[in-house]
């Protein structure tokens, strides 16, 4: 019964990991900025190695790929860049209240698709019949409602039956995708493509088609910041997220908050679907959201649930996505190269948080015993 194994000579571990609580804010941001610089360098070096161009040239292509000939006064590429940021940021913002409540909404993809579906139906069916302002209002309302419904279904099941919201919202994505596929099939005839609809498009401001989208998302960013930080509902979301027991203790109706917050989250996803359909593509297909609903999960986390940091992080990731795609394009590399690079950078950004929260102790300093 006694462990009779001879006591082997134990070796000291070479290092151990220690939790740290003392990282000052500038240290934390120093590490993050250094990580971003290192990530850019890594992306540049890899692109250089694969494309055979110099590092300087590579960055040049990236920059011109994103901003175009901006120094010659051509801003078209810049607007496109901002538009891409707007869509991804809008989805990230939509997820943030749910995440703050620790409700892991993985269904931004489906919720946005349903919002987009509502838009395209209105544009096709009501477009010729309604005056333009009324049509826009109808599009907005139906998209918001469609997204909200897609978001609130898992929330109700969570509140009443305590189902797992991650799986539920993921499954809802597949349903949404199939509904879109079916709709495209009946409307697109044999071609499986819906031609751009001319009704219910957002107005261009000047020569810029995306101006409305960009402004709307900028407004949503500010409103979301204020909502989370200064409103009573935002406070309730934080309390429910941190501790449902505390929420119950002070009399917050936890179920109500879960449902309400997911209505907001789903509605904002629906808005994003509308921006995609009425503000950008004027059409829809199963790839309209294109996986951005999942990238948005990472953006919300990288932004630490702060809308403004989220905007910066989104700008960075979209820059890489477009820039590296351009590099890959000009070097005849596979288009997946851009996706891989974005993945590497996000991984680095997430990984650097480890070094902010933990430190390594390498050597075991032995103090000789005082006799």
């Amino acid at each position: 019964m006694v462990n009779k194994k001879a006591i082997k000579k134990h070796r000291e571990p070479p290092f151990h990991v220690v939790k740290r609580d003392d990282m000052p804010w500038w240290g934390a941001w120093g590490i993050r900025v250094a990580t971003i610089i290192a990530a850019f360098l890594l992306v540049g070096l890899l692109s250089m190695a694969l494309s055979g161009r110099s590092l300087f040239e590579t960055y040049g292509i990236m920059f011109s790929g994103v901003f175009g000939r901006i120094f010659e006064g051509r801003t078209m590429m810049l607007w496109k860049y901002l538009q891409e940021i707007a869509i991804l940021l809008a989805l990230a913002l939509a997820l943030t209240p749910a995440f703050k409540m620790k409700f892991w909404n993985c269904g931004a993809e489906g919720q946005a698709l349903m919002g987009g579906l509502a838009s395209i139906i209105c544009m096709i069916e009501l477009g010729p019949k309604l005056p333009y302002p009324v049509l826009i209002i109808v599009i907005a309302v139906t998209s918001i409602v469609a997204g909200a419904i897609w978001g609130v279904i898992p929330a109700i099941f969570k509140a009443v039956f305590n189902t797992n919201e991650t799986l539920f919202t993921l499954m809802m994505n597949y349903i949404a995708t199939q509904i879109i596929a079916y709709y495209v099939y009946i409307k697109g005839g044999g071609s499986n493509v819906i031609n751009p609809v001319e009704y219910g498009n957002f107005p261009a401001v000047g020569s810029n088609d995306y101006f409305v989208n960009i402004i709307l998302v900028a407004v949503i960013t500010i409103v979301m910041f204020v909502y989370l930080k200064y409103s009573k509902q935002g406070y309730e979301i934080s309390v429910v997220g941190e501790s449902q027991n505390t929420a119950r203790y002070i009399g917050i109706n936890v179920k109500k908050v879960i449902v309400r917050t997911m209505v907001i989250s789903g509605a904002l996803c629906g808005v994003t679907g509308m921006l995609l359909v009425a503000g950008k593509d004027h059409s829809i297909n199963v790839n309209s959201v294109g996986g951005q609903g999942f990238t948005a999960i990472l953006m919300s986390w990288l932004g630490q649930f702060n809308p403004f940091i989220m905007a910066v992080m989104t700008a960075l990731v979209v820059f890489l996505r477009i820039g590296v795609a351009k590099v890959a394009d000009t070097a005849l590399l596979n288009s997946s190269f851009s996706e891989i690079m974005v993945g590497v950078v996000i991984l680095m950004l997430v990984g650097c948080e480890f070094f902010i929260n933990y430190s390594f102790k390498f050597k075991h300093n032995k103090k000789e015993a005082k006799v």
Partner: protein, 513 residues
Amino acid sequence: MDRQPAIELKNITKRFGKVVANKDVNLTAYRGEILSILGENGSGKTTLMNMISGIYFPDEGQIFIDEKEAVITSPKDAFSYKIGMIHQHFKLVDVFSATENIVLGLEDGKYNLKTSTEEIKKISAQYGFDLDVDKKIYTMSVSEKQTVEIIKVLYRGADILILDEPTAVLTPQETEKLFNILRRMRDDGKCIIIITHKLHEVLSLSDRVSVLRKGEYVGTVNTAETTESELTEMMVGKKIELNIERDEPKNTEDRLVVNGLTCVDRMGATVLDDVSFTAKSGEILGIAGIAGSGQRELLESIAGLQHLAKGEILYLNPKTNAIENLRDKTPMQIRNMGVRLSFVPEDRLGMGLVGNMDIVDNMMLRSYSKGHSVFLKRKKPKDLAMRIIRDLEVVTPSASTPVRRLSGGNVQKVLVGREIAASPTVLMVAYPVRGLDINSSYMIYNLLNEQKAKGVAVIFVGEDLDVLVELCDRIMVIGSGRITGVVDGRTTTKEEIGLLMTKSKQEGENANG
């Protein structure tokens, strides 16, 4: 003297981030003795013992076992040095029997319950344990579970035993039984180390006492040559008075009348069984009982957090003289009815406060919903936070520090401060001094006495019978969800309460048997 050192610590240091949990600790424990490690919460007792039992690894310093240097990197290493630790929270498989739990995880190749059972019975008889080896864990009392844990380490051949606050969950009678067993083990030549912060236990049980203060080793004294006040001084670093005031209750009137409260948990077990009592204004009503006897459910029922099967909770409003039934009301409804009920729950950071929020936002928990504005008003909560920090001497870098960063005592001051600031007529507190140092504990007792003087009906759920007997006007004893007696705090004894604590359980067992 030819005593044999079993374990020696030399210059042990352990840091967690900025916090130094142990600093240059030197300690020796001999075979055939009981050594108490005494210190307030947060003084590093448990961290130190965790390093001996292989849960943590020291940053600096050495450990010697039998005068040979030892490197302990895992609990398995600790076992190979014959060190066994009995933790505060038991690590047993509920659906297994005592024997199965004891042999669980042993890697000696032979799994033979019959011979193991014989072995276990031999150990039980040798030290005087009282254990039914075939009993399943989930049917056991806390004390029986502890017995299983102790036999588990003995079965593995441990001869250095570390017990982390073993008496926290026991009645006075069970404690005495445990102490007798520990004494027998000592006489058998084992080295027993017991972590505690209860002075009278130290004095009655141990041979020597080592005192830690804020992670540093203060000194070791022989128990026979020391006194309670000397030990306190070593623990706290200064002389303090250990008397709790108790004024006669004035102008008492019924405030809260509970009738026939019955509460069934999700598994269908009755956790509160026909509980009736009255809390009066201007007095402190103590509630004593073994942990988990229904205290939490009782307070939560009153606060509107439990679904009741039967019974009523009547609140006699002192302003309007109206009688209101709080049954089936949510906390929000209770507040809106004008019932000024404050509640300091047992789980401070998990229920009373939000750990990641700062002091100001935690102040808002009670009051944020007031008014029609969509937005929060942080001005008043901020003033309140500043006032509590000043009046209750909360040690914090600022009012915008997340409360989880504060020490246990300061967390409790923030919580109690907020609940008292609501000027309650009924104040319920659950284990308000658990984990607090002596100074903070006395501050809490004084606050409760102040509330009593103001005419508040105070309900105090406590675990330290010494404190209950000194502080409370009346003490209600709860056992397995039933009230087993109400005694006068001024005339009762710990032993009387101890007997009442186990009363209903014995009755239950007799009925079953």
